[in-house]
């Protein structure tokens, strides 16, 4: 019974309590002072017209109604959602594939794991610069590689290599491609989750002479489903944020008109370039509402799988 006792709690010993609060204090100061208060201020400004230069004036819900009619905002919203729908499953799948491939001990696995994690460590700006070069339609390594064996700047298949930064679809694909390599955190979690799976289940499967695919489909996937779902939701939330630097540095929201203008970039542009801070704040509000919705989904998932996945 001792072992099953839930979270450790001490009696309300005032000395210990005071010390614990003291330990929490710097974080609380930071959390409230540097995050919650500023965020609250900004969200309050969502109901004002504010250009950063003159005092804000109260406009109620005008900004939100204007957002609904704003074609650029709608495009940005759509872009963000499409990104989440396409990139997030891909990221999770890639991470899952790598985790399954690399969970065993084998020669070279350590190096491969390190290699998988490294892109995550590259500073965003440097990462953007790198891809700016990789994507260069004429001189970039990707297209040079694609052109290998072909003639006159065509690929072997006789088609033009993708014009990464000038065609809307290619550009979106490019941003997604960029994001695929930075799934290091997801990978680590999945790796740990895969290792936590009970070994006897797999031994059982081996006795049954199940094929690799069967094992994956009937054992690994169902067992890891809760973790996968959680990671997907987390990634979807994060995708609202991590589209910013690629779009800012690499594509600048283009190709025209707004192929890679994501919500994050939209907020930055309207707020800081067009000085419509109140309006941008309203878009932020929408962004956060979306996040809350995603979090609610996640919360339900957690509740559903609590037994599975003890956080």
């Amino acid at each position: 019974m001792t072992a099953s006792r839930p979270a450790p709690r001490i009696r309300p010993d005032t000395r210990a309590r005071r010390q614990h609060l003291l330990m929490l204090a710097p974080y609380l100061v930071g959390l409230v002072g540097l995050m919650l208060l500023p965020a609250l201020v900004t969200l309050a400004l969502a109901f004002t017209e504010y250009d950063l230069l003159r005092p804000p004036t109260w406009v109620g819900l005008d900004n939100l109604t204007a957002l609904v009619d704003d074609p650029i905002f709608r495009v940005a919203l759509l872009n963000s959602l499409v990104f989440a729908v396409v990139a997030v499953p891909l990221r999770v799948l890639v991470a899952l594939g790598l985790a399954l491939l690399l969970h065993r001990r084998a020669p070279g696995v350590g190096t491969a794991r390190t290699a998988t994690l490294l892109p995550t460590a590259v500073p965003e700006i440097a990462y953007g610069l790198l891809w700016l070069w990789l994507f260069n339609p004429l001189y970039g390594p990707i297209n040079q590689l694609l052109r290998l064996g072909g003639e006159h700047g065509l690929t072997v298949l006789g088609r033009t290599p993708p014009p990464w930064l000038t065609d809307p679809t290619s550009a979106r694909a490019g941003i997604i491609l960029m994001s695929l390599f930075t799934m290091g955190e997801t990978f680590v979690v999945l790796l740990a989750a895969r290792r936590a799976l009970p070994r006897d289940v797999y031994e059982m499967a081996a006795l049954e002479d199940a094929t690799g695919w069967d094992v994956f489909r009937r054992i690994t996937l169902p067992l890891m489903a809760p973790v996968l779902a959680l990671l997907a939701v987390r990634d979807a939330i994060a995708s609202l944020h991590f589209t910013f630097v690629p779009a800012f540095v690499v594509t600048d929201g283009g190709p025209p008109p707004y192929a890679t203008t994501y919500l994050s970039l939209f907020v930055y542009q309207t707020g800081f370039e067009y000085l419509r801070y109140g309006y941008a704040a309203a878009a932020t509000l929408v962004m956060m509402l979306l996040t809350v919705a995603a979090l609610l989904v996640q919360w339900r998932l957690i509740r559903r799988y609590r037994r599975f996945y003890q956080v």
């Binding site: 330990m23 930071g30 995050m35 794991r113 700006i125 070069w133 001189y139 390594p141 994050s264």
Partner: protein
């Protein structure tokens, strides 16, 4: 295939930022120009200074807060954890202006302090939550043993809890370092003085160079990436090993 691409792309970065078709005979000029134009040396120093101060402070704050959360009454914990989750959803752009006002009020604009200040919230509330979960996973008996031995919470944290979550600390240190190192929006807004520019900001000015100047900005990117890679590689040895 993706794995190969993923593993080769990054490590393949430092040696040859020069493709075959465009002749660029002087490969070190890229580095020279990057250093001259971007003021990369000075910027690196600033980045190092910020990282050296911010990363330990950040890990300290996160570890302390995570521990306190794991040990405080459930009600307090719930409130703080919920607030942290909310904070995680706030986009960085929403914070720039109000934070600027705060730092100006404190007279700290145009110093490196605003770049270090996020350390106060452990760089990201996520890391506090990770610590919270890690400390909560420590067997309750160990904490009780400390109580019986009359350890103050602070000493319990230092002597017992922290050593037990070393892999977590390694991971969080690495992530904090990378985040701090690549922080870009904050210096863009808060730092005026060229002498206080950090690496990402210097890189930003390089990113405006023409695409054919890629040896220059790739050189900059490489310079900026190497320290982060080293830290990450060192740390990941620690946080991947224990379950090996």
């Amino acid at each position: 295939m993706l794995l190969v691409a993923g593993s080769l792309t990054e490590p393949g970065l430092p040696p040859s930022p020069t493709p075959q078709l465009v002749p660029d005979p002087l490969s070190t000029t890229g580095y020279q120009r990057a250093v001259e134009l971007g003021g990369l040396l000075r910027a690196s120093l600033n980045s190092v200074l910020v990282a050296v101060l911010a990363v330990p402070l950040s890990v300290l704050v996160a570890a302390l807060a995570g521990f306190a959360l794991a040990r405080l009454a459930p009600r307090t914990t719930t409130v703080v954890v919920a607030a942290s989750l909310v904070a995680l959803m706030v986009p960085a752009t929403a914070l720039l202006v109000p934070r600027f006002a705060i730092f100006r009020f404190l007279g700290l604009t145009d110093t490196l302090v605003p770049l270090i200040a996020p350390a106060l919230l452990g760089t990201s509330p996520l890391y506090v939550l990770v610590y919270y979960l890690a400390f909560r996973a420590v067997p309750a008996d160990l904490y009780d043993a400390c109580l019986v031995a009359d350890l103050s919470p602070l000493r319990t944290w230092w002597r017992v809890a922290l050593p037990l979550v070393r892999p977590v600390t390694a991971g969080i240190t690495a992530l904090t370092f990378v985040l701090t190192w690549s922080n870009f929006l904050d210096p863009l807004i808060y730092v005026y003085d060229r002498d206080l520019f950090t690496l990402p900001l210097a890189l930003r000015s390089l990113s405006l160079l023409d695409p054919t100047n890629f040896p220059v900005f790739l050189a900059g990117a490489v310079l900026a990436t190497v320290p982060a890679l080293v830290v990450f590689a060192l740390a990941q040895r620690r946080f991947l090993r224990p379950d090996d």
